[in-house]
């Protein structure tokens, strides 16, 4: 019995290794989160709660999609926080100003919001691709500028109320066939992103750029144009996330995007996107965002304070990165 169990155990370890090398640490962490918080408070696993989790994960997922693009191309985007705040505030202001024209107000407001996102992205892209400023500096500065502009136009950070109820009722709280609208929008966006990354030259070029700028250049890829485009698309995604968040909160607020830079980078990295560019899978980034939201909701339900939560996200992030490095050595 004893002698027999050793090869079995070895086989089990081998099997575990193969699975681990294939999928990485994230799925185990996801299961871990579900088990721990599920045992702690069975309500955590209820369908109602899971529904709530997926709805609140949508915003982070959309921003993470953008962050992932920036990371894949060999850069990163620290302006997503300031940008989201600015988007929600400007979009809300436009809607309030056009209140006299129902329907038009929402339409124009949403477009303006996405436009602001695209503009911030284009500025980032211009600075990084054509002026050769390091992504860290360019986007950090843009985030700061966006935050500053926000505070100026809101007269020091007063929330913008009076967003049309129809807007909040559809994009924020609306449901189609029992599925919340933000979830539908997010699924669509993930689909679009899958298409872009896998089926277009743009997607391939992003990986090439992040893998080796020099090699991409020698291959004849217009590296500047595609770097620029990458940040524009990141901006549009952030614009969408900003508008969605506005629809959920119902008011343009200056604190809306505060944690987004850190959380979106954490989510992407959790999902296996390399900070050095050129490596990372779409489903990984999405799962990474879900894991972070699950962790937060779980801790909320366990009545763990927000300070501890902040620390916990950091700890999990470091854990995953360390485990992932270990995994790469095993391959």
């Amino acid at each position: 019995m004893v002698t027999n169990s050793i090869p079995n155990r070895q086989r089990l370890i081998e099997l575990w290794k193969v699975v681990f090398i294939r999928v990485g640490a994230l799925p185990f962490i996801l299961v871990g989160i579900l088990v721990i918080f599920g045992v702690w408070n069975p309500a955590f696993l209820s369908s109602g709660n899971m529904f709530m989790v997926s709805r609140s994960a949508t915003y982070l997922i959309v921003v993470t999609l953008g962050q992932m693009l920036a990371l894949l191309s060999g850069g990163l985007d620290l302006s997503v926080g300031g940008s989201i705040t600015l988007i929600s505030v400007v979009s809300a202001m436009v809607m309030v100003a056009l209140k006299a024209y129902p329907g038009v107000d929402v339409f124009v407001g949403v477009l303006t919001g996405i436009g602001v996102g695209a503009l911030v992205g284009a500025t980032n892209g211009y600075l990084i691709a054509y002026r050769r400023i390091a992504p860290f500096i360019a986007t950090f500065a843009m985030g700061s500028i966006a935050n500053g502009v926000c505070l100026i136009i809101t007269g020091g950070g007063l929330p913008i109320f009076g967003v049309p109820g129809s807007f909040v009722g559809t994009l924020g709280r609306g449901e189609v066939l029992g599925v919340s609208v933000p979830i539908i929008v997010t699924i669509l966006l993930v689909g679009v992103m899958y298409f872009i990354l896998s089926w277009t030259r743009f997607g391939r070029y992003i990986y090439a750029l992040g893998g080796s700028r020099e090699a991409a250049h020698v291959m004849g890829i217009p590296i500047r144009r595609y770097t620029f485009l990458t940040y524009v698309i990141v901006g549009i995604l952030v614009g969408l996330a900003g508008v969605m968040l506005l629809a959920r909160t119902g008011a343009g607020e200056v604190t809306l995007g505060l944690e987004m830079p850190l959380l979106s980078i954490a989510a992407a990295v959790l999902g296996g996107v390399s900070l050095f560019g050129g490596e990372g899978k779409l489903y990984g980034a999405v799962l990474g965002a879900v894991a972070i939201i699950l962790l937060r909701v779980g801790m909320d339900m366990a009545r763990i304070g927000s300070f501890v939560q902040m620390a916990a996200v950091g700890v999990v992030l470091i854990m995953v990165v360390v485990i992932d490095r270990y995994r790469r050595q095993m391959v």
């Binding site: 089926w199 030259r201 070029y205 990986y207 893998g211 090699a215 250049h217 291959m219």
Partner: protein
Amino acid sequence: MENTAKSMNQPEYQSSLSPEIEDKGYVVRMIGISKSFPGTKALKSVNFDLKRGEVHVLVGENGAGKSTLIKVLSGVYQPDAGEIYINERKLTIKNPHTARSEGVYTAYQELSLVPQMTVLENFFLGAELQRGLMLDKQRMRKLAQSAIDTVGLPIDLDSYIAQISPAHRQMVEIARHFIQKIRVLILDEPTSALTSEEVRKLFGVIKNLKEDGVGIIYISHRLDEVKQVGDRASILRDGENVATIGIEKATEDYLIELMTGRKVETIFPTVASKPGNVLLEVEELSTEEGLKNVCFQLHAGEILGFGGLIGSGKENIGRGLFGLEKITTGNIKLGGKLLHKIDPSHMTKEGIVYIPSDRHTEGLLSLMTVRENITTPSLGVFERYRVLQKGYERHRAEELTHRLDVRTPSIETIVAKLSGGNQQKVVVARSLVKDTKVFIFHELTRGIDIGTKIEIYKFVQELAKQGAGIIYISSELAELLNLTHRVIVTRDSRIADVFDTPNINEEILLRSYFGWKVEEKMSN
């Protein structure tokens, strides 16, 4: 010529030579040194020695093994076989630090100074003198100043390396070793950046060092210098030490005879293609990185070789032509049409492909698969309504891996996992996805095994036969002499000579490289 194949693993020591003193005067003896890199045998059982107070010159073509030999001595590389004696003591030189603690110092051609630091800081980098916990700045300054004075350098110890001229940097690189206890000083092309006045000073310094009993290994291409400072010369060819001779015997002709004389067996296919019409015209091309007024024509079906010493400008030809360097003046015409935008993406669109010499940084997307490496530069071919047709893409990638006989488990294998030769085939394959008119190959066969080389030579011939124009930049004389229709030699960033390949031999080519007189058989 000994049995070199066997000696790779078991060096044949001259068994009579006891490690003990035969001649008290040897400060370095290297016996049976062999070193292989994947695909090449850089050193084949090389013997080399250096006497106290002697200047021993190393000559040979690029890639003959000179730098590998000195890197073995200075601990950068570990030899696969062989023994090293320093002051008749058998040593394993594990790393550059061991070498330095034995008094072996190397002044490299590619400078190892930190540009953002001052002359003084560079002098003591990694060997800072301390008094207690503090840097002993006074003593360092004094020592550095006296070293600078020895060389006669008119520079301030506090100026930054980035601010001083390349010649002064070279002198600092040499002088900074004078603060140490030197037994052996290795000078790798020390005069390439110096003016004649500075060269004279350097020779004075060398003379003083000799009198102090320092042994000096001196690598140079300049024969006049060799005769001026050298005592003995060793000639390396293809990783072997073909002769060690007294400097009085080192005539120009004799050295060239020793450096060349390579048998080129059946490695190269016979040149089969006939050049047709002018395909590419380059007029007065100059670049910021150093190319000066380059003019030449490339014909369809022609293989045009570019040769020259390292740094002569042949490296810049390919990069400049492809728009990887900043073009200051000049025109490029393709099929009679003037190209307005010279940058990699436009050149690629026009049907010009550049295969860089450095596979790892510029050639490959090493995180990506074989398929992606082959198809990514030409994705337009696979697009329908902007959507990639992945089936077609895979099909084409399969086809090309077969055509070039790339040995890979599958086209979805990450390219970094392949051998060097197969990686290079992948790089070549990607230029075949769509019609390419002009191929610029830069050191196409560097670091790959002979079998793959032969395949690649055949392949280059085939391309030419199909009417492509080929620019073949190479450091290997044999390739230039056996694969090309014409050879252009660059010197000082300019075109120095143009030869019809059938009319020349290694000697003529080498003379042209070094700028020694070329008597006959010049064409164009």
